[in-house]
């Protein structure tokens, strides 16, 4: 059972990731494809790394 704190944290991370992806989409539309891909990668890491830490490491 995932605690309420973790749910709030994951929702926050998803919001940040969505915001970052929107910046990536804007960058893509401006013609900077590679830059947009790197921004998408940052968005993925923003969610993946903290979730990995929450599951496997003690904070």
């Amino acid at each position: 059972m995932i605690s309420g704190d973790y749910i709030v944290l994951i929702v926050f991370l998803l919001c940040v990731a969505v915001y970052t992806v929107s910046y990536g989409v804007w960058t893509w539309k401006k013609g900077n494809r590679f830059g947009a891909i790197m921004v998408f990668l940052v968005a993925v890491l923003t969610v993946a790394l903290p979730v990995y830490i929450l599951i496997f490491k003690e904070v």
Binding site: Y19, T20, Y23, V42, I53
Partner: protein, 368 residues
Amino acid sequence: MKKKTIFGNWEASAIIINLICTKIFLNYPRLAAEQGGTAAWIFTIYISVLALVGFTVIQALYKPFEGKDLLDVAELAAGNPGRIIVGLVIIFSAGWCATAYMRVFSENIKLIALTTSPLSFVELFFIVCLVVGAYLGTEALSRLHAFSVSFIASGYLLIMVGVVNYIDFGNLLPILGNGVNEIFINGAPRVSVFFEMLFLFLLTPFLKRHGNMKATGYWSLGFSIFFLVLSALVYTSVFPYPSSLERTIPIFHIARLIKLGRFFQRMESVFLFIWAAAALLYISVCFYFILFAFQKAFQLDYYKPLIIPFAIIIMAVSFIPTDFTEVIIYEVNIFRNWSWIVAFVMPILLLIIARLKKKKPARKGQAA
């Protein structure tokens, strides 16, 4: 028209001095004692000379690239791939500096002051500061450094002067400590202690003229060398070798000794204040350079939308090492042994290649 940020030599010097010297509050005196033994101060002077030589070469090669930062030079040398590769190297290096120092300072603050608080709570203070610093931008960070570094330096000198009663120059014998081999051969890669000089080559557009960059470099190196040598000298003369290898936070242990009559005691509280200030400024600047390098390497229009994602990534990465010891092992054995390649060799190679490429079109023009 977008306003171009320009700041003065003192602001830039304050940034570089704080970047290089924050490690004094961390583990530098112990690192120097581990490498040089009782000759920690000789070892520090030796790596300082190496750093001065390295900077002299780089600034001489930098003359034709006035106003351009290292990423611009990388683009001139190797086009888009060069800019991206150098950008990634800077991002990972600055990222290591930010995450390692944040983890180590948080662990040390837990050790000294906030013993029952969770580590994530302590790190949250650092994260808030670096997010605010990144939003305010480089001009605000430079002005904050110009104001704060003098206070930090004064507090540090106060601590050094306060332990004058405990200094025993007999602790500096034997004069060559761990031996010539350990100091001058095995100790040479420790010029990585001056890795943060690399960030001066990212500040060059803000300094405008080459003369300003040169003056900033020499002044910041000069002050940093003075503070580093003083820390190594005082630490090894107060704590005899090998007991000097046992202190987790050398300057904290020095500050704890200060007792001047019945009025001046518990000076470690002064240390805690200047230590936290130095750490916050250090991590904020490293974080800013991560964003700056990312924006420039991938030719993004803005870095501000990436502040919070990167702050989350930095905080998450800082929790990957199992404990404080693991971070110190990576920092001392890997980063402070090999980062001289990034700080000195990489800029020299890029500048040479960029210079050669600049000469080629001129020669082709002459031949025609």
